[in-house]
């Protein structure tokens, strides 16, 4: 293999992006745990440690820029770096959504919607992100289509959850501030989890582009 340093830098970038995704997925799992257990201390930890993910994002973004500027990547290498550049943005956003869940945890006092299984929906979205990153790690184009399919199920679950909230609103006395807080918090939680799924699809789409030069999933 020639251009040894360059090859090493590419491999390092892939490892670093995967490491970032491990951190982000772990953060999201803990945010879901905090929400489930109403663990305000854990929620606070997630909120205050978000800067780690942001710093890592900036570091990896710079690594991509250096590779583009200094190594003139072409063909598969170019697609790999371009895809990685986009994927780290999705990962950083998922980190922000974990912070949002932490914020909701701090305001959650009641279990108003026992029928909405946030832990389940959240767990599914984390698995989607992990599956998308596994596809990225192993150049697995076939897996990317399955991830896009899984997002339809997440969207359906989120839509049903939103309906439960709206139905509850219609059937109970509106007007109490506590009720409105519960409504908005649950709708935001559902929206954020749905977005995690969307980011997983973005990662899968960029992976498909990277491996097959196929932009089918991008829009």
């Amino acid at each position: 293999m020639s251009r040894n340093d360059y090859q090493r830098q590419l491999e390092q970038l892939r490892e670093d992006v995967l490491e970032m995704s491990n951190i982000v997925c772990e953060r999201l799992r803990r945010a879901l745990e905090a929400l489930e257990r109403k663990d305000e201390q854990l929620a606070e930890e997630i909120i205050t440690s978000d800067h780690e993910i942001n710093d890592l994002y900036l570091e990896l973004e710079q690594d991509c820029i250096d590779l583009l500027a200094l190594q003139q990547p072409v063909a598969g290498d170019l697609r790999f770096i371009a895809a990685s550049f986009k994927i780290i943005t999705d990962l950083e956003r998922i980190g922000d959504l974990a912070v949002n869940l932490g914020e909701y945890t701090k305001r959650a006092e009641r279990d108003r919607y026992p029928d909405i299984d946030i832990a389940y929906i959240g767990g599914e979205t984390v698995e989607m992100v992990e599956a998308a990153m596994a596809a990225y790690a192993t150049d697995d184009a076939a897996a990317t289509g399955e991830i896009a399919g899984a997002d339809d199920e997440i969207d359906a679950l989120c839509e049903r959850a939103s309906e439960v909230v709206v139905q509850d609103l219609l059937e109970t006395e509106a007007g109490s501030q506590a009720n409105l807080d519960d409504v908005s918090r649950m709708l935001l939680t559902v929206r954020d989890l749905e977005r995690v799924g969307d980011h997983a699809v973005n990662i899968a789409a960029r992976t498909l582009y990277m491996v097959e030069n196929d932009d089918e999933l991008i829009y």
């Binding site: 020639s2 251009r3 040894n4 340093d5 820029i65 250096d66 500027a69 200094l70 190594q71 003139q72």
Partner: protein, 200 residues
């Protein structure tokens, strides 16, 4: 070489370890042991591969066969050429391919264990595969030696250097900085225009 040319005129200082190399009391042979050179066109001596590499060592006074054998192997390994030529050390250096000849010249340059390697367009006469080998080699050599390369190939400068000096029209130094700085955010508009290809 400049000492042989009567009309040669030198302005300014060129310092090595704080000493101007053009001072009267500098021994050019001793200086060349510390500073190796590799030129644009591979220029092996019309001698065997072994003799090409051992030439500088013999000038240094090393003539013990065993020592020479060891040093020749070390230099050829250092130049990533050993595996390709170890069974033909007695054949002429001129029988090698262009890329191999250039690596032979690099082996010859590093054999006396210099501190600095000067390379003038070391890959410009080579095909992309040989270029890639020489560039990898330069990266490895840079672990041990200070390597100064002259190149007109901007991409090559970006790929393999830690620091870049940009000389423009008239040979003036316009900017010198970390390579990432030069290629991502140079201070001077002329440098930006040149590296982006807008220089008319």
């Amino acid at each position: 070489m400049n000492d042989q040319i009567d009309a040669c005129r030198i302005d300014g200082d060129l310092s090595f370890h704080g000493k101007n190399v053009y001072d009267e009391d500098v021994d050019p042979v001793a200086l060349r042991r510390k500073i190796g050179m590799v030129f644009q066109k591979p220029n092996p001596f019309p001698k065997s591969i072994y003799d090409n590499v051992s030439y500088g060592l013999r000038v240094q006074g090393i003539d013990d066969e065993i020592d020479l054998d060891e040093e020749v192997e070390r230099a050829l390994r250092g130049a990533a050429l050993w595996d390709e030529v170890k069974d033909q050390l007695d054949s002429s250096g001129l029988d090698l391919s262009g890329g191999q000849q250039q690596r032979l010249c690099i082996a010859r340059a590093i054999a006396p264990d210099p501190e600095v390697l000067l390379m003038d367009e070391p890959a410009s006469a080579l095909d992309p595969v040989a270029t890639s080998k020489v560039e990898d080699l330069i990266a490895d050599l840079a672990e041990e030696y200070t390597v100064v390369i002259v190149t007109h190939n901007m991409q090559q400068a970006a790929r393999i250097s830690d620091k870049t000096a940009v000389f423009l029209t008239g040979g003036n130094l316009v900017e010198f900085d970390d390579t990432t700085k030069i290629f991502e955010n140079p201070e001077h508009d002329r440098v930006e225009d040149y590296i982006t290809g807008k220089f008319g």
